[in-house]
C-alpha cells in the first residue's frame, strides 16, 4: 500500500510518518508532497492508496486539493491531519469526501482509531 503524506512542514511530515510506524503501519510505501498542488499532481503520478493531508498550506490548501480531486473524478481515500479540529471543519471535510480528520496533537492511538479499516 502506498500512502501520500502532504504537509508544508517537513518536520510535521516526519512526525506523521513516524506516528504511522508507531501505530503499526510500518510496511507501507510513503511518498510526500509539500502542498495541495503537489499532492494533486502526485495522486496522478504516484497513484497512492491513501492521502493524509494537512489543511492549511500555501499554494493550495488541503480542502481545495480534495475538492479538485473529487471534481476530477478521483476517489482516492483522503484524510486530514490538521491543527484545527472544529465541528465546522469536520463537517466541511466530510462534505468534501474526506474519510476522517485527525486533529494535532495526535498519537499512535489517534492514528489507529482513524486508520483501522482504511489501511488493510
Amino acid at each position: 500500500m502506498k500512502i501520500l503524506v502532504t504537509d508544508d512542514s517537513r518536520v510535521m511530515r516526519q512526525i506523521v510518518i513516524r506516528t504511522l510506524r508507531q501505530a503499526g503501519y510500518d510496511d507501507h510505501d510513503i511518498v510526500e508532497a509539500e502542498d495541495g498542488a503537489q499532492c494533486l499532481e502526485k495522486v496522478g503520478s504516484e497513484k497512492p492508496d491513501l492521502v493524509l493531508s494537512d489543511w492549511n498550506m500555501p499554494n493550495m490548501s488541503g480542502i481545495e486539493c480534495l475538492q479538485a480531486l473529487r471534481a476530477s473524478g478521483s476517489q482516492v481515500p483522503f484524510g486530514f491531519v490538521t491543527s484545527e479540529g472544529s465541528p465546522e471543519m469536520r463537517e466541511k471535510a466530510a462534505n468534501a469526501g474526506a474519510l476522517f480528520l485527525i486533529a494535532k496533537p495526535f498519537n499512535e492511538d489517534t492514528f489507529k482509531d482513524a486508520l483501522d479499516g482504511v489501511i488493510a
Binding site: M12, E84, A103, F106
Partner: protein, 164 residues
C-alpha cells in the same frame, strides 16, 4: 459612528485552558514525558519567536518565544535527532513554527465564532495590542525560558482603528 469593542482575549480564554492545550501538545509533539512548566525563569538576552495569526471575531496571534538555543533543543526533541545529527536553521524555523501552529489551531478551536488560521511565521514577535488583550503564560521547558502569548493585534499605524 459607533464601533463596538471586540471582547479581549482575557474574557475569552483563561490561563488553565492554555496550559491544558500545552499539556496535550508537549508530549505529542515535543516528546514523551516533555512538558511546558508554567514557572517563570529569567529571560535570556536573545529570543526568537514563532507565531500564527487568528483572524475572526477575535483577531490576534499565538506566539511562542524562547532563546535560539532552546528553539534548537526543541527541534532536536521534536525530530528525535541524536548526535552527530545536527538540526539546521530551516529545521528550527519549521519545528518552532509548527509548535506555534498546533498551539494556535487548538486556541482557535476554543474561541467563539468562525475564525481563520494563518501560516506559521518566525522572527521578532508581532507588536501587542491593547493591554487587556493579552493572555501570556511565562514558563519553562527543561528549565529554559519559554513563553506562550495569545495577543490581540496592535492598532494599525494608519489610524484606521479606533484609538484605545
Amino acid at each position: 459612528m459607533t464601533l463596538s469593542r471586540a471582547r479581549p482575549i482575557t474574557e475569552l480564554l483563561d490561563t488553565e485552558t492554555v496550559q491544558s492545550i500545552c499539556d496535550e501538545v508537549w508530549p505529542s509533539l515535543v516528546g514523551d514525558g516533555e512538558a511546558f512548566v508554567p514557572v517563570p525563569v529569567a529571560p535570556p538576552a536573545e529570543v526568537v519567536s514563532a507565531w500564527v495569526d487568528i483572524i475572526g471575531p477575535w483577531t490576534g496571534s499565538v506566539v511562542v518565544t524562547c532563546a535560539p538555543s532552546t528553539a534548537a533543543a526543541l527541534t532536536e526533541s521534536v525530530l528525535m535527532t541524536r548526535p552527530p545529527t545536527v538540526v539546521d536553521d530551516e529545521d528550527v524555523a519549521d519545528a518552532l513554527g509548527e509548535l506555534a501552529n498546533v498551539l494556535g489551531g487548538n486556541v482557535k478551536s476554543v474561541l467563539p465564532g468562525e475564525s481563520r488560521l494563518g501560516l506559521p511565521q518566525i522572527g521578532s514577535a508581532p507588536a501587542r495590542g491593547r493591554l487587556d488583550d493579552v493572555r501570556a503564560l511565562v514558563g519553562q521547558w527543561r528549565g529554559n525560558y519559554l513563553t506562550i502569548t495569545v495577543q490581540g493585534t496592535a492598532p494599525h499605524p494608519s489610524g484606521t482603528e479606533v484609538p484605545q
